[in-house]
Amino acid sequence: MKATILVRPKPGILDPQGEAVQSSLRQLGFPVDGARVGRVIDLEVGNGDIERTRAELERMCEQLLANPLIESYEIALGE
């Protein structure tokens, strides 16, 4: 199965990368009011047991892929 993990800086966490991207986009003339920069991780996982795979992905995020103190994550499980 393919899984996509989206990791984002939590709301309220200073995101200087996002601020730099926003300011650059504005310099290009795009009226951008906010930008946050996160990370995408594509994985090949699991043996077809969706519930089990989802639980494993949760643990992967908690233990390594995100730092729960500063980042939130979203899991999208594909075919």
């Binding site: 966490i13 200087p16 990368q17 730099a20 103190l69 500063i70």
Partner: protein, 232 residues
Amino acid sequence: MSGAARPRIAVLVFPGSNDDRDAALALEGLGAEPVLVWHAESSLPEVGAVVLPGGFSYGDYLRCGAIARFAPVMDSLGRFAAEGGLVLGICNGFQVLCEAGLLPGALRPNASLSFVCRDVRLRVERTSSPFTSRLEPGSSLTIPVKHGEGCYFADDELLAELESNGQVALRYEENPNGSIDDIAGVTNAEGNVFGLMPHPEHAVDPLLGSTDGASILGSLIDAARERLLTAA
């Protein structure tokens, strides 16, 4: 034991560490016997303290310090710390200790997004720790920083806990990286693990512009010597 006069202190070496030899040199000059320990070792030698040096362990992949936590030697380090062993993390070493859960909080990219490399002035907040015993409360230190991701973060609940336990040992007088509450260095709740972004090993000789780092490393050496003597 024979090593107590010059207490042995391990300096861990990860792929991408680059201040390991400077840390060893500084410790040696201050009266310790440094032992470089490669990350793939499954155990620590008998030492009075362990230093995690600065650098870019594992290329800073994923997040700074996130991968070093899985180095084989880290299991032994976790046990060493749990038994009250003294552990000092400098810069990347601080990041590794936070990621490994041995220290509270997290380090984020500098608010300026710029790499900062300069002397900073630090205010000593706590002297009742094995890492700051040679310091005067409220005194100022000049020690260099050099990092791109040194912006310390703790949420409100954790900050309150750090403050009430007296875990904030050092603060920046002028914040170089956006760290919350100007925090430059914190200990764990037990006080035997300490991490800081500034580099005491780069401030141990007048030729380097400051010798203030020697009082932090010297405090650690005193405490390591005492531990080894007690254990002997």
